[in-house]
Symmetry: C2
DNA sequence: CTGTTAGCGCGTTCAA
DNA sequence: TTGAACGCGCTAACAG
C-alpha cells in the first residue's frame, strides 16, 4: 500500500502527468473538465504531493535552516518562536540544528543542510567567516547572528556594548557605586562585548570594577551571586551578562539574607519572559527577542528571493537593547518595610508583552 | 558559480558517477587509486552531497517532523530540546511546525510534510485520529502525543488524571480543605483530564470544589489567582493545571497581600524550569519534559526502522508525573515570621536538574 | 489546451 | 572492480 504518485493520479484521470501538475499548481491553462477529473482522481487516491521531489525539480525547498549553539533557555526558544511565526506566514518550514560542540561539528551540520534548505540563519559562535566559507560550496544565502559584526555578509548583531553601558549608567544614576559584573563564558563574543561595555562605562564613571565569571546559566549565576554576597566590601549593585544569571544571582543574594534592591540592585540582559516573573521583577536590557527572530527570518527570505541579483543587502543590522526598569534596580526606599514585590511598572511589563507575537501556551 | 554535483566530481576524477558514489558512501568495492582520485576531486571542487536528491533516490530523508500547537512557553522548548538531543545522536534532523489554529490547517501542515520527513511526532490536539488518517496517504510512521490515548496507534500520554489526584491528595494531606482548581482551556484534552482528576479526588475526599477557568497562560493564571483571592470563603490551596498559570496565580496572590504557602498553598503541573526559580519554589507534578521528548524521538526512529515489519509497537506509553514538593505547598509553620523563601529541598531541585540532558544556555 | 520528454542530483542494479 | 543506464516524483519546456 504505497503512497500514490502524480503518475497514479494521471492514469486514473486518464490525462498526462503534466496536466495533473498544472491543475494541482494552478498554473497553466486547463479545461474545466480535465480539472475536475484530476481533482477527483487525486481525492480518490488521497494524493499528496511529494515535496522532496518537487524541491529537486524546482530547486526550492521552502525550508530554512537555523544553526544554533544549543536549545537551552528562553532566549533561543523565543527567537525560534519568532522565526516560526514569520516562516509560517511566508510559507516556509523551519529546520533546527543545535549543540555543535566545536567548529568542525558545526561546519558539518551546516554542510548537511545542502539541498535541504534555501537559506541559513547562523547563531553558532563557533562559525566564523572562515569555517563558514569552507562549509558551503555554492551560494547558499546566509544570515549571520553569531555576535560578530561580520562585515561583508548580511548579519544582525545586538549592540551589546551599548547595552552594557546603559546598564552601568542606570545603576550609577540611582546612586550605586560598587557595581559588580557577572560575565558570560570566555570566548563568547556577546559576553565579551558586554564585559567590555561594563569596563568602559565603569572607567568613565571613575568607579572600581569587580568581575566574576559565569557561564550564562542559572546555576553559574547563583554561584556568582553567592560569592559576591561574601565579598568585602560587598557590591551594592550587580549587572549580570544575561537574565538567567541575574535570576540565579537574585536567589543567591536573597538566600544570603540580602534584600534586592535595598541592599543590592540587580540588572540583567535580554528580557526573557522570566525576568518579569521573579520577585522583585528584574530590570534588564530588552531585546525584543521574538520580534528579532521574525525580522531575521523575513530578511533571509528577502535575501533568498533576491539571490543572484544585486547583493545589495550586505549590511549589518544593529539591534539596540532598551532599558526596562523593574523593581530590582529601584533606589532604596526610605521605608525599608515596604515590600517592592510589585509595582504598577512591573505589572505593566508583565502583562504587556509584544502583542504582535502573542499566542497561547501550555 | 553553481555548486558542484556528483557528476562534476566524476569528470574531474575521470571516473563514473557510480564510483564517486561508492567512495563517498563507503559502500562497494573500490580501488585505493580511484578512491584517492575521487576524494581529491571532491575536495578540490568543495563538493557537498545534495541531501534532497539523495533523499529522493533512497526514500530516506533522515528528518523528523514535529507538529505542535504552538511554540510558547518552556514546556515545548524543553520537549524540543530533548528531541533535538536524540535526533542529533541518531543522525536525524528536526523540522518543527506549529501554531495551526484549526484542524484543517493542522492537517494541511502535516500533509506538507510528505516527502520531507521519515516520520512525525504529533502534539497538536486538533488532530484526532480521523483528521490524521485523512491527512496522510501512505504509511508515514507517526507517534501521537496529543493527550488522547489513541489506542491502536503508537502514542505517549501523560497520566494527567493520576497527577491531578496526587496534587489534591498532597494538598489535603497537608491540611488544606478549600482547594481550588485553575483549569486549562476547554477542549484541551490534557486540561480536561486534569480537571476530571481534580474533581474525582475532591469528591472522594469529601471536599467542596471550586474551579476557575484559565488558558494555560501566565496572564490567565494571574487573573484566576486574583479572582480566587477575592472569593469568600477564600481557598486555602490552589491547584493550577500547569506551572505557568501557577506562577501567575502566585504573583496575583502575593499582590493581593496573601502569603504563599501560609495563607494559600500552591501547586502546579509540568515542572518547567521556572517552577524552581520563583519564590517560594513551586510544588508541582514533574514530567521529565526533555527526557520525554528524547524518548519520543528515539521511539519514533525505532518505528521508522521497523516500518513494514510487524506493527508490534502500537502501545500507548504512559508517563507518570512525579510529585515534587517545594515550599509553595508546605504546611503553614508555627512561626509565620519565618520566610520560606528557600529551603534545602528547594535548593536541591534548583541545581539538580536532569543531568543527562544538561548543557549551556545564553 | 494537452501530452511527451528532458532533466533536478543521486543511489543502484546489471553487465562488462 | 568499474561504468552505463534506470528510477525516485515532480516541474517545465516544447511540440502537437
Amino acid at each position: 500500500m504505497k503512497a500514490a504518485t502524480i503518475r497514479d493520479v494521471a492514469e486514473r484521470a486518464e490525462v498526462s502527468v503534466a496536466s495533473v501538475s498544472r491543475v494541482l499548481n494552478g498554473a497553466g491553462p486547463v479545461t474545466e473538465a480535465t480539472r475536475n477529473r484530476v481533482l477527483e482522481a487525486a481525492k480518490a487516491l488521497q494524493y499528496v504531493p511529494h515535496s522532496g521531489a518537487r524541491s529537486l525539480s524546482t530547486s526550492k525547498t521552502q525550508t530554512i535552516g537555523v544553526i544554533l549553539p544549543d536549545l537551552y533557555g528562553e532566549f533561543f526558544s523565543e527567537l525560534i518562536r519568532g522565526m516560526d511565526v514569520a516562516a509560517r506566514a511566508l510559507g516556509y518550514h523551519l529546520i533546527v540544528s543545535s549543540s555543535h560542540d566545536d567548529a568542525e561539528e558545526a561546519s558539518a551540520a551546516i554542510r548537511s543542510m545542502r539541498g535541504r534548505v534555501d537559506g541559513l540563519i547562523v547563531l553558532s559562535p563557533h562559525l566564523d567567516a572562515a569555517n563558514l566559507a569552507a562549509g558551503l560550496a555554492g551560494r547558499l544565502p546566509i544570515l549571520l547572528m553569531n555576535g560578530g559584526a561580520d562585515a561583508g555578509r548580511p548579519s544582525i548583531v545586538v549592540d551589546n556594548h551599548g547595552g552594557a553601558v546603559q546598564a552601568v549608567e542606570h545603576l550609577a544614576a540611582t546612586g550605586r557605586r560598587r557595581i559588580a559584573h557577572i560575565a558570560g563564558p570566555a570566548g563568547n563574543l556577546e559576553a565579551e562585548t558586554r564585559l567590555a561595555g561594563y569596563l568602559e562605562a565603569m572607567a568613565r564613571a571613575g568607579l572600581p570594577t569587580t568581575v566574576v565569571d559565569g557561564e550564562f546559566t542559572q546555576s553559574s549565576g547563583y554561584a556568582a551571586g553567592a560569592e559576591l554576597a561574601r565579598r568585602e566590601p560587598r557590591p551594592d549593585a550587580v549587572f549580570a551578562a544575561n537574565d538567567i544569571m541575574a535570576v540565579g544571582a537574585m536567589l543567591a543574594l536573597q538566600d544570603a539574607g540580602l534584600r534586592v534592591p535595598e541592599d543590592v540592585a540587580l540588572i540583567g540582559f535580554d528580557d526573557v519572559p522570566i525576568a518579569a516573573l521573579v520577585r522583585p521583577g528584574l530590570t534588564t536590557l530588552r531585546i525584543k527577542i521574538a520580534e528579532t527572530g521574525r525580522g531575521a527570518l523575513e530578511r533571509l527570505v528577502r535575501l533568498i528571493n533576491a539571490a543572484g541579483e544585486a547583493v545589495a543587502d550586505t549590511a549589518c543590522e544593529v539591534v539596540r537593547p532598551e532599558l526596562v526598569v523593574r523593581p530590582s534596580s529601584q533606589a532604596a526606599t526610605s521605608d525599608p518595610s515596604v515590600s517592592s514585590q510589585s509595582t504598577s511598572g512591573d505589572r505593566q511589563s508583565v502583562t504587556a508583552e509584544t502583542p504582535s507575537l502573542k499566542g497561547e501556551n501550555s
